[in-house]
């Protein structure tokens, strides 16, 4: 087995509003490099909550989380922001591009923020990523002018721009028609073949079938 990229130990999460709910019960898991992990389960079982904990966006939990050998639990917000920028790529259910920017600029922003590449290199790299998604022809269009499927592909290119250790996706096909879903499936296939580590939450069994491992969740616990 390859080295673990992400390890979670006994994560517990509570919601306090409107009433106290214990959302996650002692969730422990480990994801290895190059693995494609799907988290599945019914609505309200806590799978999205788990994903946001793993993504470091949500810091209000008990337990410990290690990503890439670093204990991220307890890091302050600015360090976490930098950590996400460098190591984690996001794909959301509702594409979530910035409407004032072109597709290319949307992809470039995280690279510019990281500052490893100069703007010219970042632009070249962003175009390369867009070409991978077959979106390079739309690079100069405002992201608001693109269709849903196109936007999601741009969002995936954006998630990849900083060569993250882990790609996290929250129902990446949840809001798309079957044609676009198929395109996104193929892209994820490709990403897995290239050796990316992916954690995704999904309802779609066809999508899940492509993964190395399916984590079935129920009542805040991983069943299998």
């Amino acid at each position: 087995m390859a080295q673990a990229v992400l390890t979670a130990e006994k994560l517990n999460k509570y919601f306090y509003d409107p009433a106290m709910i214990h959302v996650l019960h002692d969730v422990s898991l480990s994801v290895c490099e190059g693995e494609f992990v799907c988290i599945m389960g019914k609505s309200g079982c806590g799978k999205s909550t788990l994903l946001y904990l793993l993504s470091t966006l949500d810091t209000a939990y008990e337990g410990a989380l290690y990503i890439n050998g670093i204990r991220v639990t307890g890091l302050d917000e600015n360090d976490l922001a930098h950590f996400r920028n460098k190591h984690i790529g996001f794909v959301f259910q509702f594409h979530f591009l910035l409407p004032e920017f072109t597709a290319l600029e949307n992809v470039m922003l995280p690279a510019l923020k990281l500052g490893k590449l100069n703007p010219k290199e970042a632009e070249e790299y962003a175009i390369e990523k867009l070409r991978q998604m077959d979106m390079h022809e739309h690079a100069r269009k405002l992201s608001g002018k693109l269709s849903g499927g196109q936007q999601q592909r741009v969002a995936i290119a954006r998630a990849l721009i900083n060569d993250p250790k882990i790609i996290m996706a929250d129902e990446p096909t949840g809001n798309l028609d079957s044609t676009n879903t198929a395109i996104i499936f193929n892209i994820f296939d490709q990403l897995v073949k290239e050796g990316n580590t992916i954690i995704t939450v999904t309802h779609d069994h066809d999508f899940a079938a492509k993964s190395n491992r399916i984590l079935e969740m129920a009542d805040g616990q991983i069943k299998s």
């Binding site: 949500d58 917000e77 922001a81 920028n85 979530f96 990281l114 929250d170």
Partner: protein, 420 residues
């Protein structure tokens, strides 16, 4: 395109909602513009009043402030001094006082030795009555050494007709304020008759008229030579009631006045003490202007606060994405605070321009015809200090107005937004 990434976002945000940006800027522009206009005008007004005041106030005036010593009385001599008896005198009056400065020529020659003192102008002043048919006009007539008086107040620049030196060449010449000359219906070369309070009558030939631009000088004042006045009052050539001084630097007046007062044992008043009311008026106008301008800017600040709040409400999703992408709290604050500051900076610079144009336009507007003060246009002071203050004010208000929404934006919880 080499802008840091945060500023790229700032620019995109500002340009994507041009109308809102421009409206927010206009708020600042009008605030600063009005501030500049009001400051320039108020300061122009202050300068104008100060100029007028200085044109008739010497830097230092030395005179005999008649204070009678009541500790000594004839009654005391009469009743004799004894510890058992009190002598109470109601409403004592001085028996005789002299208003002049004793040894005036000595003081004058001594004053000439001071390096700081530029002009020493002696004066004998008296209230004379001028006849205009049956009407008698009470006029303050100054008997002066006209050359020194000219150097003190720049009289030759204010002549309406004739020259001040004519007083020296004409026997019993008189200079009248132009309004007084009109009132008496006399022109240069005509004769006027003046009567002293003690009843002495004398005729003077008008040798010039002047125009100071203030009623008190132009309507109720006249100049004759020192010798004529001394003669008219039946005094000798050493009889001087006031000595007026002009200094090289008028700021030293207060200090010098008190030392002169001690030296000669006469009252010495500096221009600031005499014109304390004008100074107070200036202070009131300044305060008023600052308060009003501050209010205007505060309103502009609320405008920015509102607009930025609205922007942030609409940008919740974007903020969440930026945070997920790895933009830290401080980046978010920077992005949204910079937007306010951009609005503030551009708005303030435009406001400075607007303020300049408005105050320039105002300086061209003619002043309504006025009997009391002579002024052609609205007085405006173009001091660069107000422009600097305006810019700082503008940036400060927008920074404060932008800070609260920016901090609010930085506290957005991305999870709550992204989960929908």
């Amino acid at each position: 395109m080499m802008l840091p990434v945060n500023f790229k976002i700032v620019r995109a945000h500002l340009l994507s909602r041009k109308r809102q940006t421009i409206i927010a800027m206009l708020g600042v522009t009008f605030g600063i513009g009005m501030f500049i206009l009001m400051m320039s005008f108020m300061k122009g007004m202050n300068d104008f009043f100060e100029n007028i005041m200085l044109s008739v106030t010497p830097d230092i005036r030395i005179y005999n402030d008649y204070k009678t010593d009541y500790s000594f009385s004839v009654a005391q001599q009469y009743f004799g001094e004894s510890p058992q008896s009190w002598i109470v005198i109601r409403h004592p009056r001085p028996k005789q006082i002299t208003l002049n400065l004793k040894n005036a020529p000595g003081i004058i020659s001594d004053l000439h030795k001071f390096n700081e003192i530029q002009v020493v102008s002696p004066l004998v002043s008296a209230q004379l009555l001028f006849n205009y048919g049956p009407v008698q006009l009470g006029i303050v007539v100054d008997g002066v050494d006209i050359r020194e008086e000219d150097r003190l107040f720049g009289l030759s620049d204010k002549m309406n007709g004739g020259r001040p030196e004519n007083l020296l060449t004409t026997n019993n010449g008189i200079l009248l304020g132009y309004k007084l000359a009109n009132k008496l219906n006399v022109n240069i070369g005509d004769m006027v008759t003046a009567i002293t309070p003690s009843g002495v009558q004398s005729r003077f030939r008008v040798v010039g008229t002047y125009k100071f631009g203030i009623s008190i000088m132009d309507e109720y004042k006249a100049y004759i030579s020192l010798a004529s006045m001394q003669q008219l009052l039946g005094k000798n050539r050493d009889y001087i009631t006031d000595i007026r001084l002009k200094l090289k630097d008028m700021k030293n007046a207060a200090a010098l006045a008190s030392s002169l007062a001690r030296k000669y044992r006469y009252k010495a008043e500096d221009w600031e003490t005499v014109n304390a009311s004008v100074k107070a008026g200036n202070l009131i106008r300044d305060t008023f202007t600052y308060v009003l301008s501050f209010t205007l800017l505060l309103i502009a600040g609320f405008g920015i606060y509102n607009i930025m709040n609205m922007v942030i409400m609409g940008k919740m999703k974007d903020i969440a994405i930026l945070k997920a992408e790895g933009f830290a709290k401080k980046d978010i604050v920077q992005i949204f605070l910079s937007q306010s500051l951009c609005i503030g900076l551009v708005g303030a610079v435009a406001g400075l321009l607007l303020g300049f144009l408005l105050s320039y336009a105002l300086s061209l507007v003619s002043w309504p015809e006025d009997e009391w003060i002579v002024i052609k246009h609205f007085p405006v002071n173009f001091n660069s200090l107000y422009y600097v203050v305006g810019l700082i004010f503008g940036l400060l208000t927008t920074a404060l107005a932008g800070l609260l929404p920016a901090l609010k934006a930085s506290r957005v919880d991305p999870v709550a937004i992204l989960r929908g």
